[in-house]
Symmetry: C2
Subunit: 265 residues, 2 copies
């Protein structure tokens, strides 16, 4: 068995923690550095040009930590900047779109797939392109959900909350009416609303989680939790992030969180 590998993983904020959770399930990497760009969150409402610029800074920072691989745990950067990142850096960089598109194409029975994502992800049209490259006949319906990230970032994640209920209805009703049987949670924040989205659609619809789909492509390793070195960096306040970490990450960790100035990279 070869040497274990180290991973750099980043997101605009806390959404990427849903990907990290799934990656940790694989016990594959022995060193992981997570970066959350909390001083500039959200990315999903910004322009492609700005998203590319921020993504390059995020990668440049992670490279100073000498990681072997990078995972873009952000749907918006994966949709708008992955190619630019892959051609600008020699380290292997993977996004969350390919595996999710494959999983959605496999899951659908009636060929009707719904995509939920940020403004920038839906504007990129990437899911429709990927899915139609897999099978031309797939009917892809996309909905930009710009209010989902603010809901999650502000802790509004229960269906009892009338704002959450109304926002789900507003964004999801068109997909229900279109008769989709598979829905891609195309932003890494959305798994934190998964229970509400699942309740709205009912059992007949399969939800695709980008982090879960990506993690399925990572080999199962043998690194025990005690052998793993896991650290977190953020661009805004450390304590705000630590609080989120405890609530949002399923895996229990003793988080060492450091603040960095991402603008300098």
């Amino acid at each position: 068995m070869g040497k274990n590998k180290s991973l750099g993983i980043f997101d605009s904020g806390v959404g990427g923690l849903t990907v990290l959770d799934r990656v940790l399930d694989r016990n594959y990497y022995d060193r992981i550095i997570y970066f959350g760009d909390t001083a500039r969150v959200p990315y999903g409402s910004k322009s492609k040009e700005t998203i590319v610029r921020y993504g390059k800074q995020d990668v440049r920072f992670l490279l100073t930590e000498k990681v072997d691989e990078i995972i873009v745990a952000c749907g918006t950067v994966s949709a708008n900047a992955l190619e630019e990142l892959q051609t600008s850096f020699s380290v292997p960089i993977r996004g969350v779109i390919d595996a999710a598109a494959d999983a959605a194409a496999k899951a659908t029975r009636n060929g009707k797939i719904g995509i939920l994502g940020t403004e920038a992800t839906i504007r990129s049209g990437i899911y429709a392109r990927k899915l139609n490259a897999i099978a031309e006949k797939l009917d892809v319906q996309s909905v930009a959900c710009p209010l989902f990230v603010p809901l999650v970032e502000n802790g509004f994640c229960t269906f009892e909350n009338p704002i959450v209920r109304e926002t789900c209805r507003y964004y999801l009703q068109p997909l229900k009416e279109a008769g989709v049987d598979t829905v891609v949670l195309g932003c890494t924040h959305y798994p934190l609303l998964r229970d509400m989205i699942a309740e709205f659609f009912g059992d007949s619809v399969t939800l695709i989680d980008q982090g879960e789909a990506l993690a399925d492509t990572i080999p199962l390793g043998k690194v025990s939790p005690s052998e793993l070195s896991l650290s977190f960096c953020v661009s805004d306040d450390v304590q705000l992030f630590q609080k989120n970490l405890k609530v949002l990450l399923r895996h229990s960790v003793h988080p060492a969180v450091t603040q960095i100035d991402i603008g300098a990279f």
Copy 2:
């Protein structure tokens, strides 16, 4: 009559346009530069330290435009960073809190005042401090409304929209129950939700608009619209901002918008 003056005015995004509108009513400045930090919006969910850092960069940029005065057209920066800005720079810098607190103290009849603001503004406690310095007996109730800025930034501004209705009810109901007769719109985005907030409270509650209160302290001048040089700079995409400008600014302008790299200041 002396030489006319030039003004630099900034906000995290489009909210400051509600202040600019009121400033334009005064015909006082003959050159105005507006900066919107659209690549890093919102500020209201970020830490004090990050807000101070961003505010200093915003001022530094405006100073390269050789302005005589600066208005902080952002409730969050005014609440969290005004003193730091005033001691760091020699140019006169004004925020939007003082005039609004004065106006609220004048308007209330029953002494019960509600404050709506971002997380960071409410956390700062500045309105309660200012109001209790004016009159100790004032009863100040503060509510952080983190979802209002995302609503406005995404164009959700009508009461027919059920998300807007539920969000208003969620944040405003406690103030209604507390019997406030005056409510400060403590974020420059909130005047764009004014009609909805007014409808919720009804005629018995006076709403205080920070931009309106600040503009009342600016002398009435004689600069005609044709004599005014007005320009806009943003840190994200120019076209996104131009679209907002046409919808959100009451004054009709021919917007020259330039993109700048605020991280470099």
